[in-house]
Amino acid sequence: MDPLRTLWETFFDWESMREALPEMLTVGLPNTLILAVSAALLGSVLGMLLAIAGISRTRWLRWPARVYTDVFRGLPAAATILLIGVGLAPLGMQVWGPNPYPLGILALSLIAAAYIGEIFRSGIQSVEAAQLEGARALGFSWGEAMRVVIIPQGVRRVLPAWVNQLIALIKDSSLVYFLGLVASQRELFRIGQDYAATTGNESALLLAGLFYLALTVPLTHVVNAIDRRLRHGRPAAGPADDIDDTDLALPGAAGGNQR
């Protein structure tokens, strides 16, 4: 009856976790990965196209990109997934049968693209106009200059925000559930939730969370390491611990006279 004990058992019951573990490993993890990785790839590509359209000088590209972004960010993800899943289901049935994954991935990608597009756009727009001038003066076309000079700088500036979106995507993959999943198609969160519903204990949900952490933490740190490497132009030599992420510290001022 000790409330703390009860709380602990509700969220940290090892027994429940152990019970859910095999299914999470063999069913949930692969499914989450399939959904998230495919949607991340497709969503990032579409997002980049949206970002470029969004800063284009032609309003016939800018406006559709704007409207797309507004609509796909604005609608509840559940509604978008349902709309696409139900709307395209007859088509999907003919092409790949009743598997909800293709349409689910499509819907997730379309939603993610709207967010990622805005992230890339903000990064690209933050690059100084002088950089574009520099590239174009060398004879690069607008497209080439963007591709070779502007976008690499712009995207690097927003890598952490992009990781945000990938993490959101890993978790949003659970929404494919709205399209109906057989047991072997359930991803991590769904399995956790099923256990919670059948036992009334939330530990399996927390276990799903631990799986998420096992995916998202390395992702974050790999991207941060890449970011640092790009920033400094070479693999950080020696103990990078105290200089990483500290570009805004005045060089040399990191000694005894910090403030």
């Binding site: 001038e133 520099g134 060398l138 004879g139 070779v148």
Partner: protein, 247 residues
């Protein structure tokens, strides 16, 4: 790095007008540079010198007027092709901060001239050698001194072997020794047939390198001519006043 003289071209700027909003920065600029000649543009800060250079390679489209290469208007052509013939060194350098010095120089060689990597690197190293910076080939621009950055910008533009070079204050961050060095490079380029427009506020430099000196004030060329004429017998009172201030 000598230039093929058969490709050297003349440059003509004809009545170029340009306004940033209400600020009429260029108000009918005329300038003629013969094939393989060097023109120096001098004039007070804000008179439109940098803007003029930008209109020549069409980083800015003029509101009115024309730019001629060998008598042919460039406005009808593809600007990208134009810019491959017309190199530029910016006043603020505009180096790419996310690439090493070497990559800054090889980038256009590889991507535009489509040279293979090793050839591009060879050319770039030769150019960096010329400006005394091979040792910094792997550094990022952000880790260079002002003069070093300016020299990278010069090397980057020259590596492409353009027919026309536009230098915007190309020696502002250089010490006298390097100015002398750049002067030597320019002499080589000129004798190689490259046509150059050099914005500068160092009169000694202008006197040394120029075939023609043009004095700009408030968006127009007030006076142009041989260096001797401009510096020794200036006619326009504004130019006289300007030159009287030289230390």
């Amino acid at each position: 790095m000598s230039i093929d003289t058969t490709t050297s071209v003349s440059l003509g700027v004809r009545d170029v007008h340009l306004a940033f909003g209400a600020n009429r920065v260029l108000r009918g600029v005329d300038l003629t540079v013969a094939r393989g000649a060097t023109a120096c543009v001098i004039g007070p800060s804000g008179s439109g010198k940098s803007t003029l250079l930008r209109t020549i390679n069409r980083l800015i489209e003029p509101d009115r007027g024309d730019v001629l290469l060998d008598g042919r208007s460039v406005l009808a052509d593809d600007p990208d092709a134009l810019r491959q013939r017309v190199g530029m060194v910016f006043q603020q350098f505009n180096l790419f901060p996310h690439m090493s010095v070497l990559r800054n120089v090889t980038l256009a060689l590889r991507r535009i001239k489509k040279l293979p990597e090793d050839e591009a690197v060879a050319i770039a190293r030769a150019q960096l050698e010329l400006v005394g910076l091979v040792g910094k080939a792997d550094a990022r621009p952000g880790h260079l001194s002002g003069g070093q950055q300016q020299r990278v910008a010069i090397a980057r533009a020259l590596a492409l072997q353009p027919q026309v070079m536009l230098f915007d204050e190309a020696t502002s961050a250089l010490d006298p020794e390097l100015v002398k060095g750049v002067l030597g490079v320019m002499a080589d380029l000129a004798s190689g047939g490259m046509t150059m427009v050099v914005v500068t506020h160092e009169m000694g430099f202008a006197r040394q390198v120029a075939d023609t000196v043009a004095f700009m004030d408030r968006g127009v060329v007030l006076e142009a001519g041989e260096p001797a004429a401009i510096f020794e017998t200036p006619e326009h009172p504004r130019l006289r006043r300007f030159l009287s201030q030289v230390l």
